[in-house]
Amino acid sequence: MKKEKSGGLLNQKIGRRSFLKWSGAVAAPAVLGTSIGFTKLKEADTVLAESKDSTEKIYYTSNGNNCGGRCVIKAHVKNGQVVRISTQIKEEENGQPALKACVRGRNYRNMTYHPDRLKYPMKRVGKRGEGKFERISWDEAIDTIASEMKRITKKYGPASRYSVYGWGNGYGVTSDISSVNKLLALTGGYLNYRGNYSSFQTGTATPTIYGTGSSGNSYSSLAYSKVIILMAHNPGATVFGTTMRTYLMKARENGAKIIVVDPRYSESAKGLADEWIPIKPTTDTALMDAMAYVIYTEGLHDQAFLDKYCIGFDEKTLPEGIDAKESIKAYLLGEKDGIKKTPEWAEKITGMDRNTIKYLARLYATNKPGALMLGNGGQRHAYGEQHPRGGALLACMTGNVGVLGGWASAKGDCAGRPSGWQSRFSSATNPVEASISCFTFTDAIFRGTEMTAEDGLQGADKLDTNIKLIFNFSGNALLNQHSDINRTKEILADESKAEFIVVNDIFMTPSAKYADILLPGTTFLERNDILNPWSDEGYVTVQQKVLEPLYECRDEYEVCAAIAKKLGVYDKFTEGKTRREWMDDYVEAVRESVDPNFPSFDELCKKGVHFFPMDDITIAFEDFVKDPKVNPLSTPTGKIELFSKTVWDMNQHDEIPAIPKYIAAWEGPEDPLIEKYPLQLIGWHFVRRCHSIHDNQPWLEEAEKQVMWMNPIDAKKRNIKDSDKVKVFNDRGTIFIPVHVTNKIVPGVIAVPQGAWHSADKNGNDVRGSLNVLTNSRPTAWAKANPQHTNLAEVEKA
């Protein structure tokens, strides 16, 4: 029997040592370079937790990285080493879907044992950004950080200190960022940031409409939808909620029609949907305006809903003192600007055929209940704040708000689910009140003192100092994930601006190269935590420590505690608790506020996941729709503010209108710059990466290579063939990347999967295909957020 098993023999022959050997042999793709500046590496297998237990044991765990989903990972451990990863297969006893890991989750064994792991603390020895480092002791690292914190705080004040947004690898009850922020808060404070790079536009706009970002039903409601439109939304690859895909599949089984509107034929278009309708990037709101026009002029709208629950669809419900021509109806009919927002009008902007626009409008308006679900991709452009507002308008016009199978659209976090965000760890108050949008941190490095409310500065009229000290823990937004990499490099490289940069990570990322002190972090398999999915789905997963930290890697909580000790705030930082004890504190907090029967941490480790007691289905704004007087929304009027007086009073009507309006994007299809750079460039979330995480993972690179998509029409014009290496460029920089010539992208648009680790050749050109070399650092009008799908570029054969 044994000799028949090819797998069995292979396992016998390739033992632990040789596994590590081959994992070393295949290391990173050549373009990434190897272990820059490392001195001799420790032998990987000498520091692994030794265990004589040769029987395979399975431990539940879960990764709290920067993914919206939380899946159940089963770590198979033998002889002290993780030998295999598997995942939850069967649905929960309570009928909740299995929380299956995606392609990224299947690679975690390699990620943990990757030979390029940062192994010990290092200090910079070359120029900043050059990537030359020298090994130091943990004592020296902690001493240096503490003394630099003291020096800079004394010289420039606490507002000169900043903790960069980004959750690459650290998330949960005592996440890396909350550890850093607590440390900074306890030692004088730090410049706050608002928002994120994922959803700040919709996060800013949606609450002005609905009073909350939780405008989604539970995903289980989707099983009752008759039509589902996924606009700029790709749950087939990006996991915003782990249970979402199950219910989309259920909806389809139940006969729902699922349509994907996207410039790309996405994974969702292929495996989850019935139809793909392509569109030009940045023009979704023109489509939605035209759909609204069709629905209104054909009398398919729910006038009673608009009258009873909404502000500003027509003159009847406009706030007092606002001219009738400012209503949505007046806008659609062109009463002020003379432009009717017809399908013919939108056809020219979107590239979508007028009949297709009519079809989509009628389909959505006549198949109720329907769910118009917006992805965050649609709001990540110059005027992305209009995207969720357009969605909300259509949901209200069709009365799909507050009903089973409907969807109020806009941001769409699940409403009414018990929340797992209950950590009491980060309770320290930051004495500094000033805050910037996270996307403007590079500005705050070189012109912080010049920033005003117009730049999104809040909590202070002005800043007394620029950013001088930077903590970048577990994120890659210091450089790689921020727009305009060449600009950022220049800002970061200047040691007279940001004087001290501390980075913590598990790999030498492009951001890590800009560290003055670089610390080796732990992976989720090396620490305990409890994790919540982004959109409250009503469950938490356990992150169970199954390995002692490898090499000299240290848990970030321990690192911040050690710095706190140097600075005399250890007790305030830890509050007398170890990281493990904060898990117990979390359990206590959840028992008090959400679920008295919440399991202990040890019990949670045995179960892997805990679902809070809750209704099978929850409907956003159900109570409000039942009785809007008794259950008003938390908007100023208590109603759905399709016209927002608050926004009107901001008095920036051209760029921040009071109603949803299509605004032609700079570097969009209507920008004259398109003469020079004729292609719209967008990024997308690559199925084999989570943002920039996993870029250096060989199995995942084998699964999906970093390539740019280009339509055959555009390729032919440039004499480009499939697999050719091309040069993609605009005024901000140049990347080299292989091209995939495909009809899966609309003509006139090119797409580069975002998150590839920037790697420059001797001329400073990127050779890995890192999108942000080409993206714009100009923030959006309203949220001051990242507009990373708003780029024009040109391509030629390399």
């Binding site: 598997s86 392609v103 299947r106 064994r109 690859a237 895909r245 599949m249 994974e267 056809e347 699964a703």
Partner: protein, 189 residues
């Protein structure tokens, strides 16, 4: 147990390759060795007339390992008898006491299933995760699929449930080897 096989529901497959990575993890396969592979097919064209897009694009991913064929060409072409089809359930296996690494099987298999392992100097391939099956579990790829697009079982039962389609756009004709797969296609004829 009778002949076993895989059911592949292309209509639900997003092409994510979770199955491929789960297979590699289970079998410790380095880059270049793919017991399970995911291919993508694309048909149709796009046009842009007066700035308006039209597309007839159809696309599908196909996740495939060894099809444990009724008429396995890899077995017929093996000079040492290492590649064999076991009687009990029709799984095609490599006997590593006989394999000399000549790679004839890779030339004969129209599906690219046998995978040469440099470290062993021998051929390796999908064995339907025999060890997991002995424990009553599914092959790793099947349990990995987030979209439940793969199933494993007796081919007669899979055919009764899902029909008899065993070739789709991009695959060689089934007549050569009689593969034990059932497919629900995503590309409409």
């Amino acid at each position: 147990m009778g002949q076993v096989g895989f059911y592949i529901n292309q209509a639900k497959c997003t092409g994510c390759k979770a199955c491929q990575i789960a297979c590699k993890d289970k079998n410790d396969n380095k880059v270049g060795i793919l017991f399970r592979r995911v291919y993508e097919f694309e048909e149709g064209i796009s046009t842009k007339v007066n700035g308006v897009f039209k597309t007839s694009l159809q696309s599908a991913s196909l996740s495939i390992s060894c099809n444990h064929c009724d008429n396995p060409k890899c077995v017929q072409g093996c000079p040492t008898g290492a590649m064999h089809k076991r009687e009990s359930d029709g799984v095609v296996l490599v006997d590593h006491e006989k394999c000399v690494g000549c790679k004839y099987c890779t030339w004969n298999c129209p599906y690219g299933a046998p995978q040469f392992n440099d470290d062993l100097g021998m051929m390796t391939k999908c064995d339907t995760c025999l060890d997991l099956r002995e424990k009553g579990e599914n092959p790793a790829c099947v349990d990995a699929c987030p979209f439940n697009a793969l199933e494993f079982g007796e081919i007669s039962e899979l055919r009764a449930a899902y029909g008899t389609i065993n070739e789709v756009s991009g695959l060689p004709s089934a007549k050569f080897t009689n593969p034990n797969i059932v497919i629900t296609p995503n590309i409409k004829e």
